[in-house]
């Protein structure tokens, strides 16, 4: 069930429209009378220097974020030869304390690596599909 809208109050639309048109004409005529070069408005005067730079930088961040957001996820990236190449995810971030990594591949499509984990001190063997 949709609730009923309350009745709109009676307004003199014709009178209001005529008043608005008159005001617009008056402002246009006043502008033409002043002539010459217009002084900078208060808002425009503030939009210079570091303020403009800040605004543009913020807009750039917003646009860049939007582009990244819309960009498809990259597990399958196009390769130069037209094949779809999957860079093995390499397990993500790599701890700089890991001195030596041995990589491996399996013809079933998985890849892996072996290393001594600096957090636990244990040899760790990872594999990913």
């Amino acid at each position: 069930m949709v609730a009923e809208w309350p009745a709109a109050p009676e307004l003199p639309w014709e009178d209001l429209a005529a008043e608005m048109r008159a005001n617009i004409r008056l402002r246009v005529a006043a502008g033409e009378c002043e002539g010459g070069e217009r002084p900078q408005t208060e808002g425009a005067a503030r939009f210079t220097g570091w303020r403009a730079a800040m605004a543009l930088a913020s807009l750039a961040v917003v646009v860049a974020a939007g582009l990244l957001w819309r960009h498809p996820a990259p597990p399958v990236a196009p390769a130069g030869d037209g094949m779809a190449a999957t860079e093995a995810a390499a397990g993500g971030r790599r701890d700089p304390r890991i001195k030596d990594v041995t990589y491996s591949a399996n013809a079933d499509g998985s890849t892996g690596d072996s290393f001594v984990d600096p957090v636990t001190g244990y040899v760790t063997v990872r594999r990913e599909w």
């Binding site: 397990g91 993500g92 040899v123 990872r126």
Partner: protein, 378 residues
């Protein structure tokens, strides 16, 4: 007017900051589900999500898992290895992984950490629920008995690592006995200097499995290294090669033993223009339920295609060699090449270090005495 302008500046700044922050969000422990069966020989004590994060990007969620699990051996046997499945989704590539810790020695009642660092991808459309599920695939005990669902065949891998560990420890012990500290030092330095390739780039293409030659491709035949004591021998094999790309290996093997075989793995070596060889990949038998009877032959093929490089430079592949690297018999026994196999065929100078050799070289970095003390342990 002043206050209105200030509000605009604040709004623009907040939008920019929010957009930046939306790229990476801390992953709470509630987003990681740990599934350890109640009757298993290990129990989860703690879960620290550490620096785990996730990022929503397009229609996907990228998970950077960096979690530390505190576990306890609740069974009555010493634990020598554990494998965990780490899954964000199982449909597409990049959603499934495993983390294994071989060469553990955890007594009943002792605690031990498991550190999981893994990058995973998950479609955002999967909806609510944990972003990552970690489950037990298997636990290997000192007597090589096993517990777990073994969905990733971790039993076979962990037994093979145990056998390789015993083989490599015996090798270094023999050198220490024969050539003393200097000989051991030279051997461990050679171990650290084994030729290695970069992480291979796996290729996904409908043509990867095609038996037809693609543009610029050639069909290369495997040369085989044969071990007299291996239960299986390679018969013939080919793969497609183009520059630094290889794909579609097809290999035929024969069971020359008296026991049926349920898994075979071929080590796949590639040769560069200077004649130096590198281990490119392992080629497993493709049938998940292979039953290769005694005296029988079987051919298996894999669809993988990959690009190989070394130190960032494409590897120009000029030849290929194969050898039997692992066999699992129907009775559950696992065969790996012996020290003698490796020495007689010069494979010792080609194959990358085993997990145990990696552990021993790490100990050597702490000092030769630390390595010798480790080798003297039973």
């Amino acid at each position: 007017m002043e206050s209105r302008a200030a509000i605009w500046w604040l709004a623009i700044g907040a939008l920019g900051a929010a957009a930046g922050l939306a790229q990476e969000t801390v992953l709470p422990s509630s987003a990681i589900r740990i599934d350890i069966p109640k009757d298993s020989p290990v129990a989860l004590l703690t879960l620290d999500p550490r620096d785990s994060r996730y990022t929503a990007r397009g229609g996907a969620i990228l998970v950077d898992l960096d979690a530390l699990l505190g576990m306890r051996n609740t069974g009555s046997n010493r634990i020598h290895g554990i494998t965990l499945r780490v899954v964000s989704q199982e449909v597409a590539m990049g959603g499934k992984a495993s983390v294994s810790i071989p060469r553990l020695n955890i007594a009943p009642g002792e605690t031990f950490p498991v550190h999981i660092v893994q990058h995973l991808v998950r479609p955002a459309s999967l909806g609510p629920g944990p972003l990552v599920e970690v489950s037990l695939d298997g636990v290997l005990f000192q007597d090589l008995s096993f517990y777990g669902p073994d969905r990733l065949h971790s039993r076979r891998d962990m037994i093979a690592w145990e056998m390789e560990a015993q083989r490599d420890r015996d090798y270094f012990k023999a050198i220490l006995a024969r050539s003393g500290r200097t000989g051991l030092q030279q051997a461990i330095l050679r171990e650290m200097d084994r030729p290695r390739l970069d992480r291979p780039t796996m290729l996904r293409t409908p043509a990867a499995s095609s038996a037809a030659l693609g543009a610029g491709e050639r069909s290369e035949r495997f040369a085989f290294v044969s071990f007299p004591d291996a239960p299986v021998e390679p018969v013939s094999g080919t793969a497609m090669v183009a520059g630094n790309q290889v794909r579609a290996p097809r290999i035929e093997v024969r069971n020359r033993g008296t026991v049926a075989v349920r898994h075979v793995e071929i080590g796949w070596l590639v040769k560069d223009p200077s004649g130096r060889e590198y281990l490119a990949a392992s080629v497993p038998s493709s049938q998940p339920d292979l039953q290769l009877a005694a005296g029988g032959t079987a051919a298996f093929a894999q669809d993988a295609a990959m690009k190989l490089s070394r130190n960032g430079q494409p590897l120009d592949i000029r030849g290929m060699t194969g050898f039997i690297s692992q066999v699992e018999l129907a009775d559950g026994k696992v065969w790996v090449p012996s020290s003698r196999n490796l020495d007689e065929t010069a494979l010792r100078n080609v194959l990358p270090p085993s997990p145990e050799a990696i552990r021993l070289t790490e100990l050597y970095r702490q000092g030769l005495d630390a390595l010798i003390a480790e080798l003297h342990k039973p």
